[in-house]
């Protein structure tokens, strides 16, 4: 009668849900809606661990979440074993399991002027953040960078909500020509923003963070590391020298913290925990 479990046996681990919508805006990216059995209380920038039985479990940013419908949105790039399986085999109606939300997300600042900078799939967490920022009466500008026109996706999601949306491609085949860093330098006035949010390749994030520090603009970046536990105990995702864990102390870190992190933009760890340089692309 007096167990914790007495009134209701709760399974804390995986939350189940069914694939509600699937769509490929571009060949290597899957946009996936999941209708969950239980409500979540996520913050923008947090992530979930998505389990595909028999295949594996991977961290994915919460791209959007609707409280009313209980629908979670994910943006999944095809890069390896699990993501390829998801791309090729997941169908509407399939049962999926996930745990989370985990980690610390972006600061949702009130009544401020915000700039979001995303490279490629790094845009994943931002639809949710934009909505939350608008709810907090902030205004949002967005810079989206892609390699080339055939890689451009999700632009409409931002155009509708943001004050201004800039799209750039490395080869100029769509929108502005250049990287997101070029756009920051050449097109917008970075000093006009109260805060900059950035997500994408780490070298790019490093450049944006440096730029912001230079101009004394507050900045937050969302990092990726190889993850095992996702809850801060295994040490797989640690950043030196502070011993910060991307899964629990991050994935979002402020530029003040990032300035103290040697690993940022430099190195990460392989599956064994050996430190290796971050590959160029």
């Amino acid at each position: 009668m007096r167990f914790c479990v007495s009134s209701q046996v709760v399974r804390l681990a995986y939350i189940k849900g069914r694939v509600h919508g699937l769509n490929k805006p571009i060949e290597r990216v899957l946009w996936c809606q999941i209708k969950l059995d239980e409500p979540l209380k996520p913050e923008p920038g947090q992530f979930v661990m998505l389990w595909i039985p028999g295949q594996g479990e991977i961290p994915l940013s919460i791209s959007d979440y609707s409280v009313d419908e209980g629908i979670l949105e994910l943006v999944i790039a095809k890069v390896g074993k699990v993501t390829t399986y998801i791309h090729e085999r997941l169908k509407e109606g399939d049962l999926v399991a996930l745990r989370g939300p985990y980690g610390r997300g972006f600061s949702v600042v009130r009544e401020s002027t915000c700039l979001i900078v995303a490279g490629g799939c790094g845009l994943a967490p931002f639809p949710f953040l934009v909505r939350k920022l608008l709810e907090a009466r902030s205004s949002v500008d967005v810079i989206l960078g892609f390699k080339t026109a055939s890689e451009v996706f999700h632009v409409a999601k931002f155009v509708h909500l943001a004050r201004r949306t800039f799209v750039a491609t490395d080869d100029g085949s769509y929108g502005l020509k250049g990287t997101v860093v070029d756009v920051i330098k050449d097109v917008v006035d970075i000093k006009g923003y109260d805060i900059v949010y950035v997500c994408g390749k780490e070298k790019m994030m490093k450049a944006v963070v440096d730029l912001c520090r230079e101009h004394n603009v507050r900045c937050e970046a969302s990092l990726e590391r190889y993850m095992k536990c996702g809850i801060g105990i295994c040490g797989a995702c640690v950043l030196d020298p502070l011993g910060l864990r991307v899964c629990r102390d991050g994935p979002v870190f402020s530029s003040t913290i990032l300035a103290l992190i040697e690993d940022f933009g430099q190195s990460w760890r392989d599956h064994c925990g050996r430190k290796i340089p971050i590959p160029e692309s």
Binding site: C4, W51, L95, I233, R274
Partner: protein, 308 residues
């Protein structure tokens, strides 16, 4: 009247009895140092093997209401790489650094231990108890004869104290503990996780990629208390015991100490409560010891045997 929190452990001097358990946060110098800053009395590294190991594929962990199930698979960068982390940790830490090592054969353990000591470890802990890696940990640690040989080999290769970490997944933990002592172990550590499994009813598959994992947290606390009590009953104060298993608050820690533990390992609580667990638990123990009229935290070790 203030209470002395210091604990002596086979030549090691700990500022307090709370030790970061192996495999939780102990994978890098930076995390070991962070645990030290958070108040640990000593820190233990993740178990290190000869070769780098990438561990099992995800999922490697599962949360239950009353504990965690894990099969990380002894993922670690291998001793070659890890010596750098040990050196760095030793430079930065002001508390004892315990290097946990795992292997299959006595010579392998001996070699790993020697290299860990060389790199700066103040003590080595022999993982004789990981319940989910084939040919390592428990697979060697359930055999009293092999345990004795391993400890003997290690004792021959290092000068620092040697800790033998025991498994509850054996018919008789005392037999294994005594074998470790016969081999020369300076400290017994009990317990590692309990072999267990969770199956997902929707996919009808074991959740962990390795199927089997080790259970930690509140669920195993009464098992840990039993093991420590049994060991202390058998060895008394001759060899100090570190109690580990489901310590979530000061009462759990005190229970292990009354059962016979001189120091206490903290693992899963660092997930549940974060790094503040060290300070919160220590404060509770100190209050308890004070209220009970003792002057040293070590004074309560084994009292449950006296009063029984």
């Amino acid at each position: 009247m203030s209470v002395h929190t210091e604990v002596a452990l086979a030549g090691l001097r700990l500022r307090n009895p709370l030790i970061l358990a192996s495999g939780i946060l102990g994978s890098t110098a930076s995390l070991l140092v962070r645990a030290g800053s958070a108040g640990a009395g000593a820190v233990t590294t993740k178990s290190i093997t000869k070769e780098p190991r990438s561990g099992f594929e995800n999922p490697v962990i599962y949360e239950l209401e009353y504990g965690l199930l894990n099969a990380i698979g002894l993922a670690n960068p291998g001793m070659d790489f890890f010596k750098k982390e040990l050196k760095r940790a030793k430079q930065l830490l002001r508390i004892p650094l315990i290097a946990s090592v795992a292997g299959s054969r006595p010579e392998e353990y001996a070699d790993l231990a020697a290299r860990a000591e060389e790199a700066g470890a103040d003590a080595v802990e022999l993982n004789l108890s990981c319940p989910h890696v084939k040919g390592m940990g428990l697979d060697v640690g359930h055999d009293p004869k092999l345990v004795r040989e391993i400890v003997e080999a290690v004792k021959g290769s290092v000068n620092c104290p040697v800790l033998a970490k025991l498994s509850p997944n054996v018919t008789n933990i005392v037999e294994v503990g005594k074998a470790a002592i016969d081999g020369g172990a300076d400290v017994l550590v009990a317990i590692n996780t309990v072999r267990a499994m969770v199956i997902d009813v929707d996919s009808k598959k074991p959740v962990l990629s390795n199927k089997y994992g080790g259970l930690s947290g509140p669920a195993i606390h009464p098992i840990a208390v039993r093991c420590v009590y049994e060991l202390y009953e058998a060895v008394g104060d001759t060899v100090p015991i570190i109690g580990v298993g489901g310590v979530m608050d000061w009462r759990d820690a005190v229970e292990l100490m009354l059962a016979g533990a001189r120091a206490v390992g903290i693992g899963t609580a660092l997930y549940t409560y974060g790094l503040k667990a060290f300070k919160v638990i220590l404060k509770g123990i100190v209050n308890y010891v004070k209220e009970q009229g003792f002057r040293n935290l070590m004074d309560i070790t084994g009292l449950a045997h006296k009063y029984s």
